[in-house]
Structure formats: C-alpha cells, structure tokens
C-alpha cells in the first residue's frame, strides 16, 4: 500500500515526507502465542502417542474404497437435499410475504409442521411411505385415474432420504430467506414499483439479490449442518452414507475409534471446502454494499488524480 503511494509520489512532484513510525510493541501477543503453542504441542503429542486412537487403522481406512464411495454419496445427499431446500425455501418465504392470504397461510402451515417435528422422526416416516401409501393414483379424485405409481419401487431409499432432508430443511431456509427479504429497505420495493415493475420482478430482480447478503452466512451454516445431518438417513433406513458406512465397517473390525476419526476427517475436509466457497459467494453479493472501493477502482482514481496534476 505505502509502496504504491511512494511510487505515485516519485512520478509527480515531491510531496510531503511520508510518516515512517516505529510500530507499537505488543509483548502480550507473543506470550499468549507461546502458551497456546505449548498446550497444542502437548495435546498433539498425547493424541499421536495414544494407541487407543489407532492411527495405523486410520491410515488404512482413510482412502478405503467403501469410505470414499460413502463420502461421495454423503456429498450427493447434501447437494440434492440442500438444492431442494433452497428452492423450496425461497418459494415458501416469497409465499409468506406475498399479499395473497391463501399462499401466506399455506406457507405458514408447512413451516409449522416441518419445523415442529424432529427430522429423525420425519425420516422414519418417509421410510414408511410405501407402508402408508402402497400406491399413488394420478387423475381426478373419485372419478378417473390415469396413472398409478407403485411407491415401493418408484421411490428409491436414496430419494426418500433426499426428500425427507430437503422438506425439513426448507422450513428453516424459508425463515432465513424471509429474514433476508425483511432486511431490505422498503423504499427498494417502492422504487421498483414506481418504475412499473411487477411484484415478482421487484422481488426477484431488486429485493432478493440484496437480501442475499443477509441470507448467505446462515445458509452456509445450514449447508454445513446438512452435511452432518445426512448421518441421520440411517433412520429411513439408508446405509450408504459416510457415517453409517464407517460404523458398519467398525462393526467388522470391533474398533470404532479409528473409523470415527476417518469419518470425521472426511466431514472436516468437506466443510473446509464449503467455507472457502462461502467466502467467494459472499464477496460476490457484497458488491455495492460498501463505500470502500476495490483496489482497481482506487488505482483508477489515483491515476486520474496523477493525470490532473501533471
């Protein structure tokens, strides 16, 4: 930063001498860092030398094909469920805020039910779908049926798990989206309306993009939470996700700890990747939110200023 200023100065006339102050000393920081480093070393040492962790087993199973496959399935479950939840959540939130009283109450009732019952119970129910509804008829009720869906063959356990997770999550997403929309100044909708935009246009073009800044951080939270909630799909019962698979393998080896560590390592890896993605997404939707200019804009202004003086 200061080099750039200095370079700018060198080009133009000699400006005032820049301040070269001696930085403040901060001994407390070094002390705290030393204490924490020692404590961390002791902990890591303990973990590495404690045979109960079974690091040999850990290494053996970390990239085991069954595990990496299960990790992929967990990712798929997360992606599909979250995608469904976001789409449905936005629809529910928009319904809830729409001027239409019918849509409003439908959205409220959906939320009331899916947020009010445990996700585990919901997943068990989805597993029992084929027991409750043996087949689904499409057509005019009581009059004529055009098509029949045999539930036990039509819905695979995987998709039942996805539906279960998505519907539950969409209720939470709806509240996040609603909070985001409510955070946008009323004048925005008004200005869009005054320009002749329809309610939907002003919602999707003007209000929602601004709401994204508020929506993304908690959605990142929900995504990470969803990644781990997939371990509950064993309730459906679906048994090919990361946690259930790791537990099944440890049932053969009679040593649960290394496999729990393996599963944890994979979950941690995925959440780390997601956090990086969230950073870039937040940066994108922050455009225009701050008076602070980007490095590019500042440089353009500095150039314009330099040009004016020469």
């Amino acid at each position: 930063m200061s080099e750039r200023i200095a370079a700018g100065r060198a080009q133009g006339a000699a400006g005032p001498e820049l301040i070269q102050a001696v930085p403040l000393r901060r001994p407390g920081r070094y002390l705290a860092a030393a204490v924490i480093l020692i404590a961390m070393f002791l902990f890591v040492w303990g973990v590495a030398t404690n045979s109960a962790y079974g690091w040999g087993e850990f290494g053996k199973y970390l990239f085991d094909q069954r595990i990496s496959q299960a990790a992929g399935i967990t990712l798929l479950l997360t992606a599909f469920a979250m995608l469904g939840a976001i789409v449905l959540g936005v629809i529910l939130a928009v319904m809830r805020l729409s001027p239409n009283p019918v849509l409003k109450s439908v959205s409220w009732m959906f939320l009331w039910f899916f947020r009010g019952t445990p996700v585990y119970v919901q997943l068990v129910f989805w597993g029992l779908l084929a027991t409750i509804y043996k087949r689904i008829d499409l057509g005019v009720p009581f009059v004529r049926q055009f098509a029949h869906i045999d539930t036990s063959t039509f819905f695979s356990v995987f998709w039942l798990a996805v539906i279960g997770l998505a519907l539950n999550e969409s209720a939470y997403m709806a509240e996040i989206v609603r909070a985001g929309i409510s955070s946008v100044d009323e004048g925005q909708q008004e200005a869009a309306t005054a320009l002749g935009m329809s309610w939907g246009q002003s919602m999707f073009r003007i209000v929602l993009p601004q709401a994204m800044r508020v929506i993304i951080p908690p959605t990142g939270n929900e995504l990470i939470s969803m990644l781990k909630t997939t371990s509950l799909v064993t309730a459906v019962p679906y048994s090919f996700d990361l946690y259930t698979r790791a537990r099944d393998i440890s049932a053969e080896t009679f040593n649960p700890i290394p496999l729990l560590l393996v599963a944890s390592a994979w979950y941690l890896f995925f959440t780390s990747v997601l956090m990086v993605g969230q950073f870039y997404l937040e940066r994108y939707f922050a455009r225009g939110a701050s008076r602070k200019m980007s490095a590019k804009q500042l440089q353009a202004l500095a150039d314009a200023q330099g040009g004016g003086h020469v």
Binding site: A191, A192, A194, L195, G196, M197, Q201, I206, G288, Q297
Partner: protein, 257 residues
C-alpha cells in the same frame, strides 16, 4: 369522464384514509401539460401522500384522480369502479416517473444499471439500446463519468441525479418529486435543482413536493399550499409567496422564509 387534453393531472375531491385517520380531506386541483406545480406545507399535511396517490402507490378512498385523462387505479364501467389488476396499475405507473426523498437507488447495481433496469425488464428494450440511452441520460444529469460507480460511492446529490435519470429512462409524461433535496447537504441541493430546472425548461410536467422556496418562485407555474389534508391556498407562486392571503399560509411562510 376524462378531462380535456391540456390536463395532465386532475384531482376531484380526493380523500385518503389510513384506517380511521383522514390524511387527505378532499383535494381538488389540476396540473396542465408542461406545467410545474409545487406542493408546499408543514410535515403531516398530506403532500407526500397525495403525490403517492397520483401513481397509485397509495389507493385513494374517495374522489376521482385522473392522469392524462385516465382514471388512476380503477376502471370505470357504468357508474361502478372496479379495482385495477396489478398488471394494469404497473402499466399506468410506467408513464409516471417518481423521485424519492431518500433516492432509493438499487445499491447492488451500478449507476448505469440503475438507469437501464426498468427499460430492459419492463419495456423489454434491447440491452444495447437501453445502455446507449442510459449513458445519454447520465450525461444529461452531468454524471457520464460515474456510470460504473455503485450508489454507495456517490454523494447524495449525485445519487439523486442518478435517480432522476432512472425515472427519465422510462420516458415518463409526468414526473413526481417527493422532497428531492430534503436529505441533501446544503451545498449539494443546487446541483439537483439545476437538473430539475432544465427538465422544466424542456417542457416536462412536474409535481414537486418541496421546501425550496427559491425553486418554487423561479420554476413553478403554480403553487399549492396544503395543511391538515386540505388545500389552503393556491395560485401563482410569486404571488402566493409574496402576499399569502390565508393566515395559515402566512404563519408557515414566516417560519420558513
């Protein structure tokens, strides 16, 4: 019935209630084509509400309001009024530009995108055409070098000028200004008023809620003084400002002049 073609806005006994609260108690006035009307009055007198009724941001409770001979917000069939669909109301609003006290620019869009958004989305103009016209309008308000800036990077005066360009991009036949300079630093008021003055000289029909007496005296063709939801006095702005007839107008002007 619709007014003769010289009338842009015709208000006949317009009332607005918010629940039991009467905000407008029978406003009757006309704004002719190419005319600038200034609405003056203490806060809470209903001037902003009346302005918002003109483009149907508020629905009137009684009376009749016409813009360009067309009833605002309702269809008349026989002697019954039918509520207008949202689509029809939006179609009416397209031709009426509005500038707000707090600018209400879209913060996630650049100055140019603010100006081109409605022509592209509402009028379905091709992007290239809307962009060319947007740049022209930004130049007209003296901001051609700020096309790529986001609203937060502009001063209040610049933001309000972008907002005026945004409203003009829809080629309105009527412009409504709701205290356009009240949120500005004193030194920035002039640049916005200059743009408005030029607009008036170009023949735009304007209804302006303002406290800028100088602007009213210099630019307006008529001045309406409102208080407590009624029109107290109306006439030539120079005449009303110099010799107010009504006591309420006198009292108000003595405080602000």
């Amino acid at each position: 019935m619709s007014g003769p073609s010289t009338e842009m806005v015709r208000s006949e006994g317009v009332c607005k209630y918010f629940g039991a609260l009467e905000v407008l108690k029978g406003i009757s006035l006309t704004v002719n084509r190419g005319e600038v009307m200034c609405l003056l009055g203490p806060s809470g007198s209903g001037k902003s509400t009346f302005l918002r009724c003109i483009n149907h941001l508020e629905q009137i409770t009684a009376g009749r309001l016409y813009v360009d001979g067309e009833l605002v917000g309702y269809h008349q069939r026989g002697d019954k009024l039918h509520e207008m669909t949202a689509r029809d109301a939006a179609r009416q609003r397209r031709d009426i530009g509005m500038v707000f006290q707090r600018f209400n620019l879209f913060p996630h869009k650049t100055a140019l995108e603010n100006v081109t958004e409605a022509p592209i989305r509402v009028k379905k103009q091709p992007k290239s055409q809307a962009t060319a016209r947007g740049k022209e309008l930004l130049a007209r308000v003296g901001l051609s070098d700020k096309a790529e800036a986001y609203p937060a990077q502009l001063s209040g005066g610049q933001q309000q000028r972008v907002a005026i360009a945004r409203a003009l991009a829809m080629d309105p036949k009527l412009m409504l200004f709701d205290e356009p300079t009240s949120a500005l630093d004193p030194e920035l008021v002039g640049e916005v008023l200059d743009v408005m003055k030029r607009l008036a000289q170009d023949g735009m029909t304007m209804v302006v809620v303002t406290h800028e007496m100088g602007f009213a005296r210099e630019v307006a063709d008529s001045l309406v003084f409102m208080d407590a939801g009624v029109v107290v006095e109306t006439g030539d702005p120079r005449e009303v400002l110099a010799n107010p007839k009504h006591d309420r107008t006198k009292a108000f002007l003595s405080k602000v002049l």
